[in-house]
Amino acid sequence: MRAILGRLAICAAAAVVLALLPFTLSGLNQVLAARVALYFIAILGLNIVTGYTGQISIGHGAFMAIGGYTTAIMSADHHTNLIATLPLSFAIAFGCGVVVGLPASRLSGVYLALATLALAVSIPQLTLKFSHFTGARNGISVDGTVGYLWLYGVSWACAAILFVVAWLVLRGRTGRAFRAVRDSEVAAASSGVSLVLYKTLAFGISAAFAGVAGSLFVLATNGYAQPDEFSIFLSLYILIGAAVAGLGSLWGVMGGAAFVALLPNISQSAPLIRSIPVGGQDIAAGLVVVLVMLLLPTGLAGLLQRMALAASALRRRSGIPTAERG
């Protein structure tokens, strides 16, 4: 109980900081902070399917594309309120996730990774096929413009809501089933956990998160959706973010999101990375992933956990009663 209260306190403190933060940021940094929020949502979603259910997906950029185009098309062609397009993106991406998740539940490991890779490559190309609908290479723009503070507020509000949703899903019976599937499919099935149901559900929820992230991604790109934005690299960066964050825990996600969102801007200013003539950003990302995998195989979340363990060990040794004993 104490542990839950502690976590709630951390969440409340984070909420206060996030609510006050925009007033100290310039417009430009408000947009950057909004990008952190949207990657936070995407990585959170990927974590549900990959970290908690053990199904590797390299295709989450495709679900972001579905969400992003939902927002752009609804706003451009039907003048739907931008906020109203967000739940729609959630629903449509959920549907697509379930459709993909059903056959994917028969695949596992590297085969599933390849199937989702195919998804990431093919979905953005589909937009070229239906040019009257999506604007093909010329893209499609939402109706109206998006303010920086609005973008920040909406992005972090979505992030907060979806964080609570993820927490509620993962803490109870469903989360236990997800983890059982991850740890041993045979054991899970023999304990009465339906593999097809839970794998598909995990895919659906995860895709829905990515869909909302995709909508916010388009809004943060001046409301402009275009196939090149949703390249395979977007999927890879989300996976990188999840690896940096640490799979199977919700607490490192913020670090992974900040890494992915801020890297393009940092790499264009940092003197060392900038001096690399071509692809400095990708090289930096690759190096960080290698270092994280070597030094922190469980990501930032693992680091936090280890620090908490070390702190309690220290307290025990110095004779201060720990929370559990006191």
Partner: protein, 413 residues
């Protein structure tokens, strides 16, 4: 006493006038302008699928450094900041916001690619930041000026180019049986429609087949074979580099030797050399160009080519081969410097747009000799002339060249 009061009143009046004039004299400088510098910036692909175009911003930077070494623009040095957006609009947007809000550039200059420019156009216009001489050949930059007055392009637009091929075929190849390969999107269709309208009603009957391909298609073999089977003797390509190279190679391999027309963006020496290497016979392929070809025997000793190589040697170190992308960068940067010189002293953003809309420039050393850059309040297309050029493989430095021939075409809007 009385005259003393009068004197005081007079003095006060003079002082007042002096303050007012000095207040107007010390006017506020536009962002990015100081007494010594003008800061401009742009986004370009240094990585990703279009990274080959990174030669363009490097040549532009070389020219600005050269101008700075020779006194700058009205005594101000040009500072040019460029960022790598990898041709991805979702990266272009935050980098452009960074240029405007953090680096506080005076203008967004030369940014490359249709989608990246479309993604940032509304933002820059809302902020009233000039988005000038963008490096893309779509027509929007010249036609949408009422809605986006702060945006202007530079190079000839794609439809204008297509019409020139049509005019040439109508007048010089009367017995043409035309086969067209075009990319199935707005880019290819813009070309195709302008080409058809350029041919006119009678000319259109010469088209024996028009085949489209999807940009994702792994091969265009089927389409090329269909064009040969239809009996075409004139092959017109409105495609992007990868498909162009493939189509030219396939044509040779199936024993089809038509007269080939290759659109400008796919017709650089580099792409033609790749096609030759893969077994394609591209000798004599025709394109329409507007910048000097430094590898063409007729142009390699032109003052522009010589000066260009000198500047690139000094400030874009160590390149052994120059191609039309280098010349493109120099020519565009030259135009920018001319516009900055006429943008007022100190230059203002409004002044820059005014200067770009009243261009009447002759003698850009890196455009085809004799080409002019002209704009007006209603004509927002700076370069509107093109000349046809024929490909000859194996010029100096082992690289082929596009050698211009025939008259200059005016593509006025």
């Amino acid at each position: 006493m009385r005259w003393k009061f009068g004197f005081l009143a007079f003095a006060a009046g003079v002082a007042l006038i002096a303050t007012v004039t000095s207040a107007t004299g010390a006017q506020k400088l536009d962002p990015g302008v100081t007494a010594k510098t003008i800061h401009i910036g742009g986004t370009f692909p240094f990585s990703g699928p279009a990274a080959l175009y990174s030669a363009i911003p490097l040549a532009e930077r070389a020219y600005f450094l050269y101008v700075n070494a020779h006194g700058g623009v009205n005594g101000r040095k040009i500072q040019f900041t460029y960022y790598d957006d990898g041709y991805d609009p979702s990266k272009t947007v935050p980098l452009t916001q960074k240029l405007v809000e953090q680096d506080k550039v005076f203008a967004d200059y030369g940014s490359l690619g249709t989608a990246p420019v479309l993604a940032t156009r509304a933002y820059l216009n809302a902020k009233k930041v000039p988005q000038v001489l963008v490096a893309t050949g779509d027509s929007y930059w010249g036609t949408d000026y009422k809605k986006y007055p702060w945006t202007i392009g530079w190079q000839p637009d794609y439809p204008g180019e297509a019409k020139i091929y049509a005019q040439f075929i109508n007048s010089k190849i009367p017995q043409a049986k035309i086969g067209i390969l075009y990319q199935n999107d707005a880019y290819g269709q813009n070309y195709l429609n302008a080409f058809k309208s350029g041919l006119g009603a009678s000319g259109q009957s010469k088209i024996v087949s028009a085949q489209s391909y999807d940009v994702t298609a792994p091969s265009v073999q089927q389409q090329v074979v269909a064009l040969k089977v239809a009996g075409a003797n004139t092959f017109v390509l409105f495609s992007t580099p990868a498909a162009t190279i493939q189509a030219l190679v396939i044509a040779t391999k199936i024993g089809w030797h038509p007269t080939e027309f290759v659109n400008n963006v796919s017709a650089t020496e580099t792409f033609m050399a790749l096609a030759t290497k893969a077994g394609g016979n591209v000798e004599g392929a025709i394109t329409a160009g507007y910048v000097l070809d430094p590898n063409s025997a007729a142009e390699t000793s032109k003052p522009g080519a010589v000066l260009g190589k000198h500047i690139l040697d000094l400030y874009d170190g160590g390149k052994s081969i120059f191609d039309t992308n280098d010349m493109y960068g120099l020519a565009s940067a030259w135009t920018m410097v001319q516009a900055l010189k006429n943008a007022g002293n100190p230059p203002t953003r409004a002044g820059l747009m005014q200067a770009l809309l009243s261009l009447n420039l002759k003698g850009n050393p890196w455009l085809y000799p004799g080409f002019t850059e002209k704009t007006s309040a209603t004509d927002h297309f700076p370069v509107e002339q093109l000349v046809l050029a024929r490909y000859h493989s194996g010029g100096p430095a082992g690289i082929g060249s596009f050698d211009p021939f025939g008259r200059v075409f005016n593509n006025t809007h």
